[in-house]
């Protein structure tokens, strides 16, 4: 019960901080929109829907690395120490992960809307399944990148390490996501996608479980 209270409070703190400055959400949003627009200008002659699908996920990947990596890298040592004194490490990790999931959900939803607006003919026939893929993508990006950004921030020298450490871990997830989204673009019946959805959920549970086990060792200096 104590944990749930701490988590609730910490999430509230994160949202409040973000609401006051609106730096991360606006920054990443502008990043996504300008990337999509750049891609539109360079790739508009490509007529292939599958290329656009892959492109969407690559844009999402880089946007979420930028958005999520803020969670630990941005905080000063003093701030981190303060939250560890007040709350248990598990609560800190869970609250950051949940907050990142919320952030990514808002972000990817807006990005998907803008993407379908710009690439007019891209709109997948099975929009609901595509949105499921987007939701699962936001969750998996958040769970993996939150832990990796905690590792990278402890190692110092954040930016480059973040990319090196997270890419090999996220590639399998990305492959599953692109496959799932491709099913939606092709308009296949849902039965064909259950494998991927189940696999993504399993990977997420695995990642959250290992993160929760390992994080208590990580935060102490």
């Amino acid at each position: 019960m104590q944990l749930a209270k701490e988590v609730k409070y910490l999430i509230h703190k994160e949202v409040l901080l973000e609401w006051r400055s609106k730096y991360t959400i606006n920054g990443v949003l502008l990043y996504v929109v300008s990337t999509i627009f750049t891609c539109y200008l360079s790739f508009v002659s490509l007529g292939d829907k599958l290329t656009w699908n892959a492109l969407f996920w690559i844009i999402m990947l880089f946007a979420s690395i930028n958005g999520v990596s803020k969670s630990f890298l941005q905080e000063t040592k003093g701030q981190q120490l303060y939250s560890y004194v007040l709350a248990s490490p598990a609560a800190v990790l869970i609250s950051k992960t949940v907050y990142n999931i919320l952030l990514m959900l808002v972000l990817t939803t807006i990005a998907l809307g803008f993407y379908t607006l710009v690439f007019d003919s891209f709109t997948p026939p099975d929009l609901l399944l595509y949105y499921v893929a987007v939701v699962l993508g936001s969750i998996s990006f958040s769970t993996v990148f939150t832990m990796v950004s905690a590792i990278a921030s402890k190692a110092g020298n954040g930016g480059m390490l973040m990319a090196i450490l997270s890419f090999p871990i996220i590639i399998p997830v990305l492959i599953l996501l692109i496959k799932l989204a491709k099913n939606a673009v092709d308009g296949l019946p849902w039965e064909n996608s259950y494998d991927e959805i189940a696999m993504l959920l399993v990977v997420n549970v695995l990642m959250v479980a290992t993160s929760l086990l390992l994080f208590p060792y990580l935060w102490r200096d």
Binding site: A155, F167, S211, L218, D221
Partner: protein
Amino acid sequence: MHKTWWKILGSVLVIYTAIAGLLLGVPRLPILNETIRNLYFHVPMWFAMIVLFSISVFYSVKSLSTKSEIDDIKAVESVNAGIVFGLLGLVTGAIWAKFTWGQFWSFDPKQNFAAISILLYFAYLILRNAIDEEQKRAKISAIYNIFAFPMMVVLLFVLPRLKDSLHPGNGGNPGFNSYDLDSRMRMVFYPACLGWILIGYWVYTIRFRIRSIENKQQHN
């Protein structure tokens, strides 16, 4: 003698498989022909790699609780030895693919995922280089190692089964099991796996000893 028997066993088994693998009879199958002998040299590399990486995770977990430097060195040296076996597995696979699939790298899921899982361990080594302080390095790299291990398992054993692959054993291609009828191949394959695992473990123990002597010299 009681400590060296497994080294002798490993060497004898590897020498035996090198000779018997090239000379003993194999079933004659279309396309594969004599390249089927690659089974004795390619597959054991992955077994040895998995064993070494598992040793590494074991010592990473141990070093988190004991905080001992020895466990940390054991973890990193088994990764070092395991990466060599992984690269050898990729190379032997690529050479085999040249003769059966037509290209060294044909963007087969198995090849790609194996390459990505090796990238994971290169990332682990780079993470170690990025941190100067020894205890901090031991702790953070152990955490990354444990975090990455389940992903490697997913990459090597789960994902390839979801995709179509040219690799034997995947996508309707005959795997090793269908050759099981031929007991001649088993006679070489199982000793080869055991032999290479033992040799891999031996390489790791030697590397560990070199590293701990270097450490001692530095502290003196």
